[in-house]
């Protein structure tokens, strides 16, 4: 088969790329190894929809949403305490919305459907097994596991996920990068819709997302909980190096989180519907590969585009943004007759002008700060103890005052003020 472009992986990046190529009138094949788009995919809480404005006006009228996130909470935890910043807003409960919960099988299939409607050809249940090269050694298509399944193309867009064997084969990614990769494991649990709404203070299709720190038994990482219509998903994300060193099993970490006194009451009586696991590329800007080579662009998880910056945990939106830019660049390069790395240089320019590289560059040091030992092991306890002391009424002893309570919590948690000052300064710089 010979086409203008082949896009590998019908996740958010691939479908967005295929959509742009099809809209440009090009002959594009979108290859997916799962039985349907999203069958291999997992996410951890919220799909932020603003980038979809560039895909479809009023996308919210038809997207397969579970709940619109109107409550967004961040929870600092110790084994017995939890300090939560819990924000809710009416503004997120009406168009154009901010974030949604969904099932990836539904969402990814919907987005792939937009590419198909624009003219892309979707081929599922097909694995791309390697790159084809022309006599000069330039990438010229892909091999698949279908008999006679070679696809010759002027450009390959690799949206083949966190393990991207194509980016590795092209020499853009190392074979392994455990220091910059985390494992997410998730349980999706059924609860009646009314119970979810009562327990989480939600009405109609409003949803809640909680992100957590300090709930991973000291392993660098975090936890999450989010609501769908009649399920609640709860999970943990841990760094691979920390997980390997801990000798702890991933599902034990979920078990510990589910038993936490701040989480357990939310999940009472819930029935496990699906367990899932996926890797997440969390290295950010500094771990990203080269994004273009002769005949190929890389987008989404394959290009380490998940944003794991503590307050902000995003990925699907970055994949869509990068996929759109990759598709636009590829269409231009094909029209200009130059799909060399130089001809594809517009991809990086587009990404730098958009949130995709701008946010990643701005927050390039944030992941290190969030995953640092003190942030994981000392500061949640410091914050919880400080608040506990403030709100514990010690009559007849008078109140100590905020400053003295703070230093007491610092001493109690064996935090060195010098470290705290330095970490605070670095965090301010990283998040400025």
């Amino acid at each position: 088969m010979t086409v203008d472009a082949v896009v590998v992986g019908a996740g958010p990046a691939g479908s967005a790329a295929a959509l742009e190529l099809a809209r440009a009138g090009l002959d594009v094949v979108l290859v997916e190894r799962g039985v349907f788009p999203g069958a291999k995919n997992v996410y951890g809480g919220v799909v932020y929809g603003r980038i979809l404005d560039e895909v479809l006006p009023q996308w919210w009228t038809e997207v397969p949403v579970q709940r619109w996130v109107t409550r967004r909470a961040t929870m600092l935890m110790t084994p017995t305490q939890a300090l939560t910043v819990d924000y809710r807003s009416d503004a997120w409960d009406r168009p154009p919305y901010n974030g949604m919960t969904t099932y990836r099988g539904d969402f990814d299939s919907w987005l792939a459907g937009k590419a198909v409607a624009a003219g892309a050809k979707l081929v599922t249940s097909t694995v791309v097994t390697g790159l084809l090269r022309d006599p000069a050694g330039r990438i010229a298509g892909v091999r698949t596991d279908r008999p006679g399944g070679d696809i010759h193309a002027r450009i390959v867009i690799a949206c083949d996920g966190v393990n991207s064997f194509l980016a590795k084969e092209a020499g853009l990614l190392p074979r392994t990068d455990s220091a910059h990769t985390t494992l997410g494991v998730k349980e999706t649990l059924a609860l009646p819709r009314e119970v979810i709404e009562e327990r989480f203070g939600l009405v109609g299709d409003q949803g809640l997302d909680i992100e957590m720190v300090g709930c991973t038994s000291g392993i660098p990482g975090g936890g999450f909980l989010y609501t769908c219509l009649d399920t609640v998903s709860v999970g943990v994300v841990v760094g691979l190096d920390g997980l390997a060193a801990s000798k702890t099993r991933p599902e034990e970490l979920i078990g510990t989180l589910k038993a936490h006194p701040a989480i357990a009451p939310y999940l009472r009586g819930a029935e496990l519907k699906e367990y899932s696991a996926h890797l997440i590329p969390e290295g950010g800007y500094r771990a990203m590969p080269r994004l273009a080579t002769d005949g190929m662009l890389v987008a989404g998880d394959a290009a380490f585009m998940c944003l794991a910056a503590g307050l902000w945990l995003e990925g699907v939106n970055f994949a869509i943004g990068a996929g759109l830019a990759a598709g636009q660049t590829a269409a231009e390069a094909i029209a200009a007759g130059d799909t060399s790395a130089a001809g594809l240089a517009g991809y990086r320019r587009r990404l730098k002008a958009s949130f995709v590289l701008a946010d990643h560059k701005r927050l390039r040091n944030a992941a290190d700060i969030v995953l640092a030992d003190r942030m994981q092991q000392e500061y949640p306890g410091l914050a919880c103890d400080f608040v506990e002391q403030i709100f514990t009424v010690t009559n007849p002893k008078p109140k100590l005052g905020m400053a003295r309570e703070f230093f007491r919590a610092v001493r109690l948690n064996k935090v060195r003020l010098r470290d705290l000052a330095r970490d605070g300064w670095q965090a301010m710089r990283a998040f400025r």
């Binding site: 799962g34 099988g105 599922t124 694995v127 494992l183 997980l243 496990l272």
Partner: protein, 96 residues
Amino acid sequence: MSYPAVSFDQRMSTVEFRVGERAHITVDSDVCRSCTTKDCVHACPAALFVPTTDGGILFNYEQCFECGTCYQVCNREGAITWAYPDGGDGVVLRRG
């Protein structure tokens, strides 16, 4: 508050796997015998890797999430070789 723990088998029974004929994971047990940490054994979310009495690794491929944790944490180059299952085979997530 506590709940009856979900057993590992119960957990895995909630996941749909379309098991292919070809094993997409291979392990070179000769390499594993010189490995002192065997991190794949506890890190794999599907618990597919089991140490054997002679120091090697016995593995299953049938209930694999295709996440890649095993080869990422493997500290011996080439001990675990991993590729995707054939098209349409492997894990099918409904609520991912």
